[in-house]
Symmetry: C2
Subunit: 195 residues, 2 copies
DNA sequence: GTCTATAGGCCGATAGAC
DNA sequence: GTCTATCGGCCTATAGAC
């Protein structure tokens, strides 16, 4: 059906430029710094074009989110299908749960129009992770009573997000100790190179 | 020295009203919804009074933070000096790490003027918790190699904050399982009523 | 300490020409 | 699809009267 995807064929590059400028602004200055005027300036366009292509700012934010989510899911699936998926997920989450994720969560909490979609996305990602972790834990000889997969998935998300947030804040109390602690537990779970 | 604290004696109630209105707005709609006009409206005042009493909005935010931090620290010390301080800290954190804390962290990440103070406050609280948890862990027969106190303090902060954030978002994947998991671990650490 | 008045600026969004 | 023009609104902050 790729051939049928012709809507806005000429505007593709403009749309891309707007999406890219918006994502950059969110990363650098947070969602509150995003305005149609600032986005347009950064993309070398007029602000009215932002509204022409995306309507409201909420729809623009959602378009940026959907684009970022695609990449995120593709990389997540790659990490989860590799050997030692638990360690891979920990590594992936520490790299992928960046300030952008934090901005979207903060945005979603205060904007009805984007909240539902981001909340569902959050739970959906967690479910995918839990399904894969469940098999990995069984293989590692860990029962669901000792460590449910959904608990492990929550732990990984909570720790990586908090590390990112506090680092952005300039706070680092306990970070290195936590990293050492987690690495050690992961080694116990999945061991070193396959024996 | 209480008698010497006379500066702004007549303005005390106005200042309090402004602080209270600001905190309310932050809780209900987030820091981005706070403006001198909206704060003043809620307090039944003119917006210029906000600037007269606090100068810039950043100083207003810091004043609200310092007031909230006082309460927070008082309650934290109470929790940490009770029997079974680990369970108490978990309970306290789940109650005290509210949306207000999340708003201040988000605010601090994007406002230079408040970042340093909130980052230092965050690390200072973590250090207090670690010191007390260290003794509690030793008493429970847990060595620092098995579970360093600063790691436990980080875990408690990360989990309670993530629970609060995701709940505000409307996401709940793994929440109940996580709560059950943590409660069980806490029972193992500190047991039931003192034997 | 509180008021009125105001400067100077950024915002979302739309209308209509081309 | 992109432009110019513009409406109506909210913002921080200051000056000066009382």
């Amino acid at each position: 059906m790729r051939a049928g995807r012709r809507i806005g064929r000429d505007s593709a590059s403009t749309r891309q430029a707007i999406l890219e400028a918006t994502e950059q602004l969110m990363r650098e200055e947070g969602y509150a710094a995003v305005s149609s005027r600032r986005v347009a300036d950064r993309a070398g366009l007029k602000s009215q074009l932002v509204h022409y292509h995306f309507g409201t700012m909420d729809e623009l934010f959602l378009a940026v989110y959907r684009r970022a989510e695609e990449d995120y899911l593709a990389q997540l699936l790659q990490a989860l299908t590799a050997p030692q998926p638990i360690s891979r997920l920990w590594k992936f989450s520490r790299e992928a749960d960046t300030g952008l994720v934090a901005e979207f969560i903060a945005l979603a909490i205060h904007r009805k129009a984007v909240r539902d979609e981001i909340a569902r996305s959050n739970d959906r990602v967690r479910a995918i992770q839990s399904a894969v972790l469940s098999k990995a834990l069984t293989q590692a000889g860990i029962s669901a009573e000792d460590l449910p997969a959904e608990v492990l998935a929550f732990l990984i998300a909570a720790l990586s997000r908090t590390l990112v947030t506090e680092t952005a804040l300039g706070a680092s109390a306990g970070h290195s100790a936590l990293l050492a602690f987690v690495e050690r537990r992961l080694l116990e779970l999945e061991g070193g190179p396959r024996s």
